[in-house]
């Protein structure tokens, strides 16, 4: 019977959620829940044991509560779990693994803090753990593995770091040389550190993070199932999805036809194939629009917000055109407002060119008003970076629309 084990790692429990701070706690919870799904995978695939290749915790000071939570979930595992510290939860004097919470681990949980082989006689396996003791080091954590006469034990290395040959990370990032796989006669090297699943060589792989951590991660949310028939045979590695969260990036160009733009957007949303409650969406808008259209679009998005976990809208590339707005109509026979709108429009246009052209445009003012002086006066006190930019001019159009709506009601 061949040996089967789950290779996972980079759980990053307690990680800060910089990409979606609004739903940070939900995302953190997802990272804890995936531990249960890995357990289910182990059960379903009838794995013999589980190895966790480092960075279980995001930081040594994530606290006792999280430590206990993780241990509790690990306690439910039907098989042994072997854990090494990574560069985030490295085994220094302040290591989370040295705190009181870890003085009392469930019997199946093994935290390997020393460079000592672990023999699993029952399975004919020698495990060579390479724990990370320093956040940064130029030493190869796998160098200590003793070179022995080949015997009839399956030799599995468990390490956390960058791959020296591939140029991932830098020279002080716990560089592991893949040459050691052959030099130390390892049947498989279970690596952790990189968040995307990646098979490095027939006998070495990054398992990747089990729960995706951002919009730009390519292939994460997996755990690996590794089977080795006998000592010396090539391992078979299969990828299993365990992650729940989906991070989606969407782009949409607005046109001057408000109705069309909104309908298209709605269609895009509907076409997302996912369990919407676990999906985070970053929507990038571009194109030319009116203030009214932007306001209406907020309403459309609000409809979808309750469905998806999180929607982030980036409107920095949208250019407003006041001519398409109610404002323009209203200002037709109101020369004062017309003059103001025309100046706002000039400001919006000016900031899309380079500095010199913008300055020239501002100076050549037909209305008799010194725009540059007005901009200076409009700057607010206590507002250090408060230059008047295109964004501000666009916001001004929106505010005027709002005020207009207020008085025409």
């Amino acid at each position: 019977m061949s040996l089967r084990f789950i290779h996972t790692g980079d759980w990053h429990v307690g990680m800060k959620e910089a990409n979606a701070p609004e739903v940070a706690d939900r995302v953190r919870d997802a990272r804890l829940e995936v531990i249960d799904r890995i357990r289910r995978l182990a059960q379903e695939t009838k794995a013999d044991f589980v190895v966790v290749a480092g960075d279980v915790f995001e930081h040594n000071q994530v606290g006792r509560k999280l430590a206990r939570d993780v241990l509790r979930r690990l306690g439910d595992y039907p098989v042994d779990v072997y854990i090494i510290p990574g560069n985030h939860d490295y085994a220094g004097p302040d290591s989370i693994y040295k705190t009181r919470a870890f003085q009392d681990v469930p019997p199946k949980v093994h935290v390997l803090l020393e460079q000592k082989p672990v023999v699993i006689r029952r399975l004919n396996v020698i495990l060579y753990p390479c724990p990370v003791t320093q956040k940064r080091t130029a030493l190869d954590p796998t160098d200590w593995i003793p070179v022995e006469e080949p015997n009839d034990m399956i030799r599995i290395g468990l390490a956390h770091g960058s791959v020296a040959e591939f140029g991932f990370g830098d020279l002080t990032d716990n560089p592991v040389s893949l040459r050691n796989v052959e030099a130390k006669s390892l049947d498989y090297l279970a690596m952790g550190h990189w968040h995307s699943t990646s098979v490095l060589s027939p006998r070495a792989a990054y398992c990747g993070a089990p729960e995706t951590t951002g919009y730009t991660e390519k292939d994460s949310g997996n755990a690996l199932l590794v089977s080795i028939d006998r000592p010396g045979s090539e391992p078979q590695v299969s990828v299993h999805r365990v992650g729940k969260l989906k991070w989606v990036e969407m782009e949409h160009e607005l046109s001057l036809s408000v109705k069309d733009s909104l309908d298209q957007l709605r269609a895009k949303f509907n076409s997302l194939q996912s369990d919407s409650g676990d999906t985070l969406i970053r929507l990038r808008l571009s194109g030319v629009s009116t203030g009214e259209a932007l306001a209406r679009m907020e309403d459309v998005l609000d409809d979808f917000r309750s469905t998806y976990l999180h929607i982030e809208v980036d409107t920095s590339s949208v250019v407003l055109d006041p001519d398409g707005d109610k404002l323009f109509e209203w200002a037709k026979d109101r020369p004062l407002t017309r003059a103001v709108l025309s100046d706002l429009k000039r400001l919006i246009d000016a900031s899309s060119h380079d500095e010199a052209a913008a300055a020239w445009e501002l100076a050549a003012n037909p209305s008799g008003v010194d725009l540059a002086a007005v901009l200076k006066r409009a700057e607010l006190p206590e507002d250090e970076d408060g230059a008047i930019t295109r964004e501000v001019a666009q916001a001004a159009l929106v505010e005027m629309l709002k005020a207009l709506e207020g008085i025409t009601r």
Binding site: D94, S367, L380
Partner: protein, 922 residues
């Protein structure tokens, strides 16, 4: 608009209908005395245009003529634009108040008036024309009168108030007239909404974000979060530090343990060597102490020997010195004797010189005395001759005094008195003559007259055609023989008085002259002159006497003083002669001797005396010195002898211990030296067999023991430290610092995003506000420039000089600015200047508005403080400007406005029973 006619009835003093018809399209003058009702007419017209006919306001009720039940009724014919057709038309407004309220507006059709509107509708049309408005309650005030607010100047109400230009109605009208942009109500509303939003974010002065604003709150939150994050970072750093310390300590402990092991094994190896060295050391110690004892003995003996030798040497030296001293003493004695001899010689010489000197001095004394007496004698003689002269003058003086006493002359006063009396007499005589009678006779034929003037009687011949004047005082008789006799008497009492005075004066004068025994003034004067001459002589003599005395140095002295002086000198001379044993006769013949050669001799002797004195001193000193030297040498010799005997005694003492023998001492010394040398050699040998300082195993052993103890102690310390730090880490471990920091950072991200949005919004609102302000400003300035230019020009015209400009500020407030650019407040101008300025402003604005529609300007008593010159210029200006508008001037001084053309209305005439009145021109 243009006024055509105005009729009032039942308004204040106008009980019966009064109509002003035929208003000139340009200039109209309504004049009359004070309180005749000129202003009332204008007010009535205003009420007609602007107030509701239904109003029961007090101001309208007060229009009812006193003591009547009449209701005010007003009819105004004017040209205006109702808006119902293009252009202006002739209109009639009929208005009634109080009991019979009505409003009727009619239009001229060419043959008559046709009703256009009545009641509220008519009033609305009027308000549209005037842009006026209604108050909440009561009568309209000037603020509601639309265009008329600025253009109708009412006496005393606003004389010194600057015309308000920031009236919205007015500004809109002006803008329209000048084709300038206006601001609509909705834009105002929009702006207000924006400003309201902005004011919730920023404080009033726009200096900072309001405490309650979103921005302020977000910034606060951000600060809090940053603080929390910083706190977490501090804690994390603490943990890091502790970890680093623990690792450091562990490394250190490892190194120290290795060192400890090495040192312990070294210590073991050293033990045997240590024993051997200890034994050698103790032997050496014993030898050293023996050597020490020998050395002390040797030292003592050598010392004794030395002392004996030294004493011997000293004695030899002393004896040599004593010999020398004896020789010196003998020499000194000889020298003393010689010195004494010298002293005696010098003393003798000095005495001889002194005798000689005394004699020469005596001779000199005598010589001087003789000279002195001779001088005295000469003096006596001189003074005597002077005394003679003085005595002669003195007796002359006495003669003059005698003559003076005999004359009795008049004093100056008496002379003056006489002269006065003479003058008085002459004057009175003339006066009497003048006051007296004078007969002016013109003869028509030859005639001889006899004239009797009382005091005199005369006969006069007067030829035909000749005339003669005859005088008399009180009375006169004129007789023409064979014809008539005229007797004339003066009634003048004056003459009698004068005559009395005259008699009195004559008597006085006569008395005065008699006093001095003269006949007349001439005699009196001669007498006075003589007395004066005598006095002069006296004066002269007296002065001469004084002069002579003062030339002797005797000021204010008398002859007796001079006599006394002479006497004194004679006494002196006598006593002097006595002392010298000379007689007066011998004085001049005796030989006194040569003073100069005597002096020279004395001087020479004195020099010699002093030289000799010095020599004597010196020789005395030399004698004393020699004596001293003798004494010193004796003492020295005695002392030396004593010292020798002492030294010898000492040698005897020292040698006693050795049986008095010096030889024995020497032997003992040699023996001890030998013994000491032997011992020294033994000690050296022992020393060389011991190991050196460096290789001493005992030392090394001790040192190692100490080091080992030290290491053990340090290890203990470090171990304790590690457990302390580990304990501290344990303390910090449970805290979920990282999790808290992560949450805070996530919150911070959200807060910053929101803050950015709020800031952009605030900036946007600020931008809108500033843009609107800037564009409005641009709008207004076009307008204000137009007004400024005109006001400056017209005002300069009226004042006759151009040293100030008008300036309209942002709020449309009026200021004056001089050409340097300094602002001048119109409040500071004089009453007249302000008056003129404010009228000019009204005219300028009216001119601008009249571009589109001619305006009506009312000036009610507007130029009371203005001087004549400027007044006339103001009239020139009005004449010119009135080409474009209609000006109505109310005044009580019609003469001031005579030069103006146009229609004139005399209100006084109007209030006379004949009600209807047409203008002067009819």
């Amino acid at each position: 608009m243009r006024l055509l006619s105005l009729q009032v009835k039942g308004v204040s003093c106008f009980r019966n209908p009064v109509k002003l018809d035929g208003f000139d399209p340009h200039i109209n003058l309504i004049y009359g005395p004070n309180e005749i009702g000129k202003s009332t007419l204008i007010t009535a017209m205003a009420r007609a245009f602007f107030d509701r006919s239904s109003t029961k306001a007090q101001e309208v009720i007060d229009m009812r003529p006193w003591g009547t039940a009449l209701s005010p009724e007003i009819v105004v014919e004017f040209v205006g634009n109702t808006g119902m057709r293009a252009g202006s038309t002739r209109l009639k407004l009929e208005k009634g108040f109080l009991d019979t309220p009505y409003t009727r507006l009619s239009e001229w059709t060419g043959s008559g008036y046709e009703l256009l509107a009545d009641g509220d509708k008519a009033e609305e049309m009027l308000r549209a024309m005037w842009r006026s408005s209604l108050p909440g309650r009561g009568a309209t005030g000037i603020d509601q009168w639309g265009l008329a607010r600025l253009l109708w100047f009412r006496q005393d109400r606003e004389r010194f108030d600057c015309p308000k230009l920031n009236d919205r109605v007015l500004l809109n009208e002006l803008r329209q007239a000048l084709n300038v942009m206006t601001v609509t109500k909705e834009e105002e509303a929009l702006l207000r909404a924006i400003e309201s939003e902005l004011s919730q974010i920023l404080t009033d002065k726009q200096r900072s974000f309001r405490k309650g604003s979103a921005v302020a709150a977000l910034r606060e939150r951000k600060k809090q979060l940053l603080a929390e994050i910083a706190g977490c970072d501090d804690r994390l750093r603490e943990i890091q530090d502790l970890s680093a310390k623990i690792i450091g300590l562990k490394d250190s402990i490892e190194a120290m343990s290795v060192e400890l092991e090495n040192k312990s094994s070294e210590l073991q190896g050293l033990q045997g060597e240590v024993e051997r060295v200890k034994e050698l050391s103790s032997k050496l110690a014993v030898a050293r102490s023996e050597l020490q004892a020998l050395r002390s003995q040797k030292e003592a003996l050598l010392k004794d020997r030395e002392a004996v030798n030294r004493a011997k040497v000293e004695i030899a030296e002393l004896e040599k010195r004593l010999e020398k001293a004896q020789k010196d003493l003998e020499t000194a004695q000889t020298a003393a004797q010689d010195a004494e001899k010298q002293v005696a010689e010098h003393a003798k010489a000095l005495q001889a010189l002194r005798d000689k000197l005394s004699k020469s001095r005596q001779d000199l004394e005598r010589c001087r005395k003789i000279h002195q007496l001779r001088t005295c004698d000469g003096e006596i003689r001189r003074k005597r001759s002077l005394l003679e002269k003085l005595r002669a003058k003195n007796s002359e003086l006495e003669k003059v005094d005698e003559q003076l006493s005999k004359i009795s002359a008049p004093s100056a006063d008496e002379l003056a008195q006489a002269a006065n009396l003479r003058e008085t007499i002459t004057r009175l005589e003339a006066g009497i003559e003048a006051a007296g009678l004078s007969l002016d006779i013109n003869a028509l034929a030859d005639v001889t007259v006899e004239f009797d003037a009382g005091t005199r009687s005369e006969q006069h011949y007067i030829g035909k055609g000749e005339s003669k004047v005859l005088h008399a005082t009180q009375q006169a008789v004129l007789r023409v023989p064979d014809l008539l006799t005229i007797s004339i008497k003066s009634g003048s009492g004056e003459i009698a008085k004068m005559q009395e005075k005259l008699d009195d004066a004559r008597a006085q004068l006569a008395a005065l002259l008699a006093k001095f025994g003269v006949d007349g003034m001439v005699g009196l004067q001669a007498l006075a002159h003589r007395a004066a001459t005598l006095r002069q002589n006296r004066e002269r003599l007296s002065n001469e006497i004084d002069e002579l005395l003062s030339s002797e140095g005797m000021i204010q002295a008398r002859l007796t003083d001079l006599e006394a002086q002479i006497e004194q000198l004679e006494v002196q001379l006598e006593s002097g002669l006595d002392k010298l044993c000379l007689t007066a006769g011998e004085l001049s013949s005796v030989d006194p001797g040569d003073e100069d050669s005597l002096c020279a001799e004395i001087a020479e002797l004195e020099n010699l005396e002093s030289d000799t004195q010095q020599l004597l001193e010196r020789s005395r000193r030399a004698a004393a010195d020699a004596q001293e030297l003798k004494t010193k040498l004796s003492t020295l010799i005695d002392a030396g002898k004593k010292q020798c005997s002492e030294l010898q005694a000492r040698i005897r003492d020292l040698l006693e211990r050795f049986g008095g023998s010096e030889e024995q001492l020497v032997q003992k010394c040699e023996a001890i030296c030998r013994a000491t040398d032997q011992k020294e050699a033994a000690v050296k040998e022992l020393e060389s067999s011991l190991p050196s300082e460096r290789e001493d195993p005992v030392k090394r052993s001790t040192a190692l023991k100490a080091e080992i103890d030290n290491l053990i102690q340090q290890l203990e310390q470090k171990k304790a430290e590690i457990s302390r730090y580990e304990g501290a880490l344990e303390q910090l471990a449970p805290d979920d610092i990282y999790l808290r920091k992560s949450r805070a950072e996530e919150q911070l991200e959200l807060t910053e995003r929101e803050l950015r949005r709020e800031l952009i919004r605030a900036r946007a609102l600020s931008l809108i506000s500033e843009l609107f302000k800037a564009h409005r400003q641009a709008m207004s300035s076009g307008l204000s420039t137009a007004i400024e230019d005109r006001v400056t020009k017209y005002w300069a015209f009226v004042r006759g000089r151009q040293d100030v400009k008008a300036r309209i500020g942002d709020d449309m407030e009026l200021a004056a600015v001089n050409f340097i650019g300094d602002r001048v407040d119109p409040e500071r101008f004089s009453a007249g200047a302000r008056e003129q300025l404010y009228v000019v402003v009204r005219l300028a604005v009216a001119e601008l508005l009249s571009e589109s529609d001619p305006q009506i300007v009312v000036l009610d008593d507007a130029l009371v403080f203005t001087d004549q010159h400027r007044h006339s210029r103001m009239l020139d200006l009005i004449k010119r400007l009135s080409e474009k508008m209609q000006v109505i001037i109310l005044t009580s001084h019609q003469d001031r406005f005579e030069s103006l053309p146009g229609a004139r209305f005399n209100v006084e005439e109007l209030t006379r029973p004949s009600a209807e009145y047409r203008s002067d021109e009819d």
